[in-house]
Symmetry: C2
């Protein structure tokens, strides 16, 4: 049992750096938009601007995939869309299960971007018997008892956990035992998984706290600059100061 396997497998996946992989979806989205506007080619400078990254970085990223550009011209949009899609494995169908159909789970089930590209919601699963059979996003919720069967029957390898924190680890273990090897975790918990299983975490609370940190820093710098006169009644005096 490995402790929270959040760090990368350390092995560069087929020579493609993790940082590059994380940007490929970004490029793909920008390219898809260009494709819909029937733009035939795009330069690294233009595409980088659309994706919000540095053009040198983009070119280096693409160089890991191969030499798909034409010097003096740029990149063929359609060809690049295909190459990135293939590299990301989006040319095949990925059945996905969502476990925990509360507010968030339901929102995820309704999320359009889910079905759009290669991903298909194979089932919605909840532990509450009262939810069973209830339609969410045009699909009946199934009871957690069926979890193993659903995963096996549909060949699901990607699971989304949207349960309360307390249930997440247990759900995770059942998913893994049933054959899931990639998990997207929305529950605010560190998941322990065996080697070979990938976990990605989406944590609203953490993102907000990081923003708060920077916000506080900005406020502090402002106050220092302005000699601090008009700040709200709640300063940050220590209310609790344990020894």
């Amino acid at each position: 049992m490995a402790t929270g396997r959040n760090h990368r497998p350390a092995t560069r996946s087929r020579g493609i750096p993790e940082a590059t992989v994380a940007r490929l979806p970004l490029y793909l989205r920008a390219l898809t938009a260009l494709s819909e506007r029937s733009v035939p080619t795009v330069s690294s400078e233009e595409l980088a601007a659309a994706a919000g990254v540095n053009s040198a970085k983009l070119r280096k990223d693409f160089s890991y995939l191969g030499s798909y550009g034409t010097r003096g011209v740029g990149y063929d949009v359609e060809y690049l869309v295909y190459q990135i899609s293939r590299e990301l494995g989006l040319t095949q169908d990925w059945p996905v299960v969502i476990v925990g159909i509360g507010n968030l789970g339901a929102a995820l089930a309704n999320y359009g971007g889910f079905a759009s590209r290669g991903f298909r919601v194979a089932a919605l699963i909840d532990a509450d018997p009262a939810m069973a059979g209830k339609p969410v996003a045009g699909m009946p919720v199934q009871h957690a008892d069926e979890l193993e069967k659903i995963i096996s029957d549909n060949g699901v390898s990607i699971g989304v956990i949207a349960t309360p924190a307390g249930a997440a680890q247990q759900v995770c273990e059942r998913l893994v035992a049933a054959g899931v090897t990639s998990i997207l975790n929305f529950a605010p918990t560190v998941l322990s998984v065996p080697d070979g299983v990938d976990v990605r975490k989406v944590d609203l609370s953490i993102e907000l706290q990081i923003l708060a940190f920077h916000e506080q820093r900005k406020a502090g710098e402002e106050a220092d600059a302005e000699a601090a006169s008009r700040k709200g009644p709640d300063g940050d005096m220590p209310a609790v100061m344990p020894a």
Copy 2:
């Protein structure tokens, strides 16, 4: 990953590395759990395990905050909770607005972790007039016309964008113009913001695509391993190497 803050200027946050800041909420969560179990002290090894990180990394992270540990003993849980909370700016109240009350926006409004620690949902805003006045999470949705007034009246500096992609940039600009300096973006778009504004992005679709990449790689390796074992004992010979 935030596109608006990719090239972070020289504003290195008071000497605390960004990577460390991103982990502080993780430590805080683990410490809060210990605190609730009335555990008085914790070693770096134990806490690191609970947070799913390396213990040396944790100690180095804490060293940026100061010397809050006692050699031979560990860290005082309550004291550390306070120090990290203060460092993250969670000892003060952060009013937050959520713009775009669709499935996701409603889920966020109902999310408990929101209110739990310093963050308070000041208003729910939507552009659809039919939504106005409708209660979501015990709070009436307000029309987008009121956006500037709401932000100004409540001193909101953090905004959450949960609108469709097409509306995100425009909403973002209005938020920034009204005084918001930190944005959490759930819309699948690259946001352009002026310097001094922090953007963090949460993108379900990107996370799934990254998982798909690794999933595909796993499947490929399996196939390679099979092929290799079928061929002969020496496993690491020329895999697929396109010219």
